[in-house]
Structures are given as structure tokens and as C-alpha cells.
């Protein structure tokens, strides 16, 4: 089993670490998790895999602080938000009222919570349901409320247990973009999803829960860029002031950066991360000028990716 975390860029202090964590239910129950070590650093995106009933959800609940480990310990407790797989919303509130309450629980003051509730419902295409009683929401709409709840107060650690389940296609993509945004902003995200294409290529690390232990995913998504390219990519051409360096955030998001002229750069970025890259470029000081954005399908790029794959293997 893997004891070393690959997620310690420049010795960043982990937001939260699990040390020899084990969890079982009842005094004589079987161990659901055993001997789990995991460090979650700021900005880390971690995918957890495993067959049904292997303890993925338990691991996520321990990370979210909803479950205490039976043995071992947890160091650190960042501001945490959790999204469950199903959110049966038998609550006597409208969506906006519930989100305002939860925003306040997450530490926002009331006016900020009201604004954040509206913004996040709008972002997930559920603004029209803001005044609808939760009990009347469809399954997908209540899942949107559950997702919005977690994002209200910019959590430092976002734990998503199959949060995409039940969302419509647009909301699923939006949630992928939000995850990338959050990690680019320095939050850590840990997620489980049954769809292997979910955020394909983006996670910094993939772990599998096998027999209660945590194994670092073999060969995929371990931070090597070439291995990460499995989904569609976007090409972004942008120009910075002469002599400026590529903003580090943008450099991290892109899987390939190529200088094409004085100050002009071509970034290749996995599709879910393209918005975050543009935000990083436009938000840099001084800001970069975005010349063009397009699908990455030209032969040059394919060659470049092929070269990268050869390099890494």
C-alpha cells in the first residue's frame, strides 16, 4: 500500500491528513477501512475509486468529519462542505430559505448568504426554483440545492460523494468547472463518481479503496500530464506583455504550454479546466490578452501529445 502522498507540492502543509485511520461499525463489526494514510493539500483534486460497498463513502464521511475514525487520527479540520449522493429534501423550507440557513451555518453573514444562495442556484440553472418549497422539487433540482449548499461559502475542503448523480448534463458540466475553479483557488476537492470519464485527466491523484486499504491508482492521473490527457482539450492562444512569465496558476492548469512568438503562448488545457485557465490569464497582473480559443484537434498538438506520452512511458 502507498504511504507516500504525491500531493505535496513545494512542501505545502496539508489541510487535513489521515494517519493510520480505521473505521468499523459496532464493537465487533468488520473493518470498513484500515490503515489509511492520506494527506490532502491545498489545491489537490483527489478521486477515490472502488467497487460498491468497499468503503468509499465511509472514507469520504471521515474526510468530511461526519464520521470519526475508530482508530488512527485526523489532523486538521479545514472549512468543509459535503454533498451526498441523494438529497431527499423533506425540509419545510423553500430552496432559497434552506440555502440561506446553510450559508449562515457555513459562516456567512445573512445578507451574504442570501446573495450566495441566489448566485449558486442561478449558476446551476435552478434560479426558477428558488421560491419553490423543497418538498416539491424534483430529484435533480434537490441535488442542485445540495451542490449549491456546499459551494455557498467557498469551502477549503469539498467532499463530493457521487454529487453528479441526478444532475442534468449542463449542471454536471458546471459542477466539473466549479471543481476545477475551487482547486485553482487553493481548495482541496475529494470526489467519488461511478463515471470514469468524470473530470478525466484532471485529478492530481486517484486512489482505490481495496479491502479497506487505500491504494494509489496505478499509472493514471498521478500528476503526469501525458497520462492525464484522456478527455477533449481546448487550445487557448494568449499574449502576455513582452518578457512576462506564464502565470503559475495557468501553467499548472495547462497540460502543454508552447511559446509561439514574442509573448504569445499556446496553452493546451483539458476542457473542464478551460474556464479556469482563461480566468487565470485574464486575472493575472498585468492581464494577458486572449487571442483565440478553439478545439484542440490540429495535427501539431496530436504530435505533441504523442511525444509527451512516449516521454512519460
Amino acid at each position: 500500500m502507498e504511504r507516500e502522498s504525491p500531493l505535496s507540492p513545494e512542501g505545502a502543509d496539508p489541510l487535513l491528513s489521515l494517519e493510520g485511520v480505521g473505521r468499523r461499525y459496532g464493537f465487533r463489526g468488520p473493518w470498513v477501512l484500515r490503515g489509511v494514510d492520506l494527506a490532502v493539500t491545498p489545491g489537490a483534486l483527489i478521486r477515490v475509486e472502488g467497487a460498491n460497498g468497499t468503503g468509499k463513502s465511509t472514507l469520504l464521511r471521515v474526510l468530511a468529519g461526519i464520521d470519526a475514525p475508530t482508530e488512527g487520527r485526523i489532523v486538521g479540520r479545514p472549512r468543509t462542505a459535503y454533498v451526498p449522493e441523494r438529497f431527499p429534501a423533506a425540509l419545510p423550507f423553500t430552496a432559497a430559505e434552506y440555502l440561506t440557513h446553510l450559508g449562515a451555518v457555513h459562516g456567512l453573514d445573512r445578507p451574504a448568504a442570501v446573495v450566495a444562495a441566489d448566485e449558486w442556484l442561478e449558476r446551476f440553472g435552478a434560479a426558477e426554483y428558488a421560491r419553490t418549497p423543497m418538498a416539491q422539487l424534483s430529484k435533480g433540482s434537490s441535488q442542485k440545492v445540495a451542490v449549491a449548499q456546499a459551494l455557498l461559502a467557498d469551502p477549503e475542503l469539498l467532499v463530493l460523494d457521487e454529487a453528479w448523480t441526478g444532475l442534468d448534463a449542463e449542471a454536471r458540466e458546471e459542477l466539473e468547472r466549479v471543481v476545477v475553479e475551487r482547486t485553482a483557488a487553493g481548495s482541496a476537492v475529494v470526489f467519488v463518481d461511478h463515471d470514469p470519464r468524470r473530470l478525466a485527466g484532471v485529478p492530481d491523484a486517484t486512489y482505490a479503496v481495496v479491502g479497506g486499504a487505500l491504494e494509489l491508482g496505478a499509472g493514471k492521473g498521478t500528476g503526469a500530464p501525458a497520462a492525464a490527457v484522456t478527455g477533449p482539450c481546448v487550445l487557448v492562444e494568449a499574449r502576455g506583455r513582452r518578457g512576462t512569465r506564464v502565470p503559475p496558476e495557468a501553467g499548472e492548469l495547462a497540460i502543454a504550454v508552447e511559446e509561439t512568438g514574442s509573448g504569445a503562448h499556446r496553452f493546451t488545457v483539458p476542457e473542464p479546466q478551460s474556464d479556469a485557465l482563461l480566468r487565470a490569464l485574464l486575472g493575472a497582473r498585468p492581464p494577458w490578452h486572449v487571442v483565440s480559443v478553439g478545439q484542440a484537434d490540429d495535427p501539431d498538438l496530436d504530435d505533441a501529445l504523442a511525444a509527451l506520452e512516449v516521454e512519460s512511458s
Binding site: 461526519i66 468543509t80 462542505a81 438529497f87 430559505e97 440557513h101 446553510l102 449548499q149
Partner: protein, 222 residues
Amino acid sequence: MTALLRYQAALLVRSQRWLPPVILYAAFLGVGVQSGQPVLDSLGYTAAALLPVAAWLVRICATNEPPAARSCTGAAAGPGRAHLACVLVALAAAGVLGTAATVIVTIISAPTSTAHDIRVEPLPAGAAGLLAALACALLGTAVGALTNWPLLRSPGRAVPALLLGALLALVVVGSPARAAITALVDGSQRGTIPVPALPVLAAALCAAAATALACALTTRRA
């Protein structure tokens, strides 16, 4: 914590699940307390009936959120703090209910001893009644905290345990609630007004210990 308390209080009020215990309490007092009866006897009855109501209110608050929503709140604020807010809101609701009932009963009752021969001042009698009601609300909260999530999760066990616990808390020798009620009834017979402060203190300790145990177990028994 303020946000959690507001959220839990709004849940309780909006859910309207507080209606059955309040109606039952009112009906119980309507049957058992009549105007013109000796004040301390009636106040003892009022306090005793509050104990199961307080335990019931804890059950309502502890089960108001579906588990998925409880997980969201727990991740945001810590499951222990979230549960503490549940219990405190239930206790506050029982306190409001008990205070209202005590005030009304004090006003409509006769300011006399059981034999109607010695005068009992209504104001200090009402204060003694408030203390007894507080002791019962606190002990009922302790019973509710010990017989609901996270200690007992299936309704099939929780509800009988709650009823049995409430009954025992009223009749077992050494129970602070029983001590407070007995003090009122004895005082009524002698025509003196007791100050059941010690039972209140003991009941508060019970409630604090039970709540601490329940909050500590929120992350252990999911």
C-alpha cells in the same frame, strides 16, 4: 452556533411537528387542572406533564433533518455542534411551553393550601412552579437525548424507550423531577412554598451529561 440555533428553530416551527405534543399537553392540563384548585398542587401537575413533552420535543428536533441534510449540516458545523443545537432548541421550546403553562395555572388557581385553610402567595408559588417546570424540562431533555439519534436510531426502539424513560424519570426515587414535584405537593399540604433549586441543579447536570454523550456519539454511530 447562532446560525445553527436559528436553523433548528426554523425547522421546528416550520415542520409543525410541535403541534401534537403542545395540543396533548394542553389537553392534559385541561383535564387535570381546574380553576380554583390549590395552586401548588396544580403547578406540580403542570410540571410533571412537561417532562414527556420535553423528551418528545427532543425527538422531533433530532429527527427533523433527513440523514442526507444532517450530513451537510454536520460537515459544515461539526456533527456534535449541530446536534447540540437540536437539543438546545428542543429545551428552549419546552421552557417556553412550561413557562406559559405555569403562568396561566398560577393565575387561575386558588392561592391556598390543599385543605383551603392556609393562604399561599401566588407570586412565590408561581416562582416555585417555574423551578419545578424547569427541572422537569431539563430531565425530559436528558431522557430525549438518551433515547433518540444517535443513541437509538430505529423508531421501534426509540419511541418505547422514550416513553419508558419519561415514566421512570417521574416515578423513580432520587429523580430530580420527582423531588421537585414532591416538594410542591408537600408544600401544598403544609401551606408552605418550597424552593426546589437543588432538583433544578441536579436535572441540569443530568441534561448536560446526556447531551454531551449524545453529541460525542454523533460521529461514532452513523
